[in-house]
């Protein structure tokens, strides 16, 4: 049971207040029609799913009802930072 810091509420809250929103920083292709099927398929269906540092979106569903980003180590579950959507993470790279 993670304890997640919501950058909007500025508080730590129980995991059960949040829902997972998938990988963060997936920028939508500017002109999707120009992509090949393969490129479009990669965009739609393929995710990094790394072992280690992962940037992901979370939704504070029973709190402020806003999205934010989380940098989490998928190996240890440790949340290294949370930040607003549109901002860049401070922590990047592959851990352990």
């Amino acid at each position: 049971m993670l304890l997640i810091y919501c950058p909007h509420c500025l508080e730590y809250r129980e995991e059960e207040e949040f829902s997972y929103g998938g990988e963060a920083h997936i920028s939508r292709p500017v002109d999707p029609e120009k992509l090949t099927d393969e490129e479009w398929g990669d965009y739609l269906f393929f995710r990094k799913n790394p072992k280690g540092i992962h940037h992901e979106m979370w939704f504070h569903s029973s709190g402020c009802r806003r999205y934010f980003n989380v940098t989490r180590d998928t190996l240890t579950y440790e949340i290294l930072e949370t930040y607003e959507v549109g901002c860049t993470p401070k922590i990047t790279g592959i851990s352990s």
Partner: protein
């Protein structure tokens, strides 16, 4: 049928029928029909004493509203209201109403329990008549209908909450004017610490469609501490003394 019978007024709490089945006596607070007290089933229940220990009261018909948007704080300020400086906190207005800041772009305004303040009505009227919501990015939210409004009062309230809420609501941690947007028994809720006199009190605003479910959950959780449902008279008497 007394004049305060809730079924003669259009705005009815989702718990109206529950109250009637539990021998509620209704009264008008401003233009709202509210439970004044309950006729005791056996022996007499001292609702005022209960309010100090552990009790729940339904205020769902009392005035409240909300505003949201980038211009909301500024617009509310222009209306002469005093907003808390930080999110998730609440301040009492000189009129008696309470403003809770839910985010830098969202506020919730609640009437006092005597409905003496006209803040809510005034704000609703101004926002819809002058269409400020569009130019100033201020949008009214129908908080009077989307959320029910309960108070949980008494010295054992925090302990009771810990059975159904993951936020630490103990009075030395969740101070006066604190606001938590969280889930109570898995129902999305806003909880505001707003004491009456020296009695700890928590306003609970939750999804109105689950009001009856949450009411039952709260009563069930309160049972262990002998908590009961009370009317608004007992709440008002907590303030009278001061």
């Amino acid at each position: 049928m007394s004049i305060a019978d809730p079924t003669t007024s259009a705005r009815r709490s989702p718990l109206t029928h529950w109250h009637k089945n539990n021998r509620a006596i209704f009264t008008m607070i401003g233009s709202s029909s509210v439970v004044e007290s309950y006729e005791p089933k056996d022996g007499s229940i001292d609702e005022q004493r209960q309010a100090k220990e552990l009790a729940i009261c339904d205020l769902s018909t009392l005035p409240r509203t909300g505003f949201k948007g980038q211009g909301a704080s500024m617009w509310l300020g222009e209306q002469g209201l005093h907003l808390p400086s930080s999110s998730n906190s609440a301040v009492i207005q000189s009129s008696g109403s309470l403003i809770a800041k839910l985010s830098d772009q969202e506020a919730l305004i609640l009437s006092d329990i005597f409905a003496l303040s006209n803040d809510v009505g005034n704000l609703v009227n101004r926002s819809t008549s002058d269409h400020r919501e569009l130019t100033q990015q201020t949008y009214i939210l129908p908080r009077g209908d989307s959320h029910c409004w309960f108070t949980v009062t008494g010295s054992k309230a925090s302990e009771m909450f810990s059975k159904i809420c993951a936020v630490d609501l103990r009075t030395h941690k969740f101070l006066l004017g604190s606001v938590a947007q969280t889930s109570l028994a898995r129902v999305s809720s806003v909880i505001i610490r707003h004491d009456f006199g020296d009695t700890p009190c928590f306003y609970v605003l939750s999804d109105i469609s689950s009001a009856e479910f949450l009411w039952d959950c709260l009563l069930d959780a309160m049972y262990e501490y002998n908590g009961v449902n009370i009317g608004i008279n007992a709440l008002q008497s907590l303030i009278d003394k001061h």
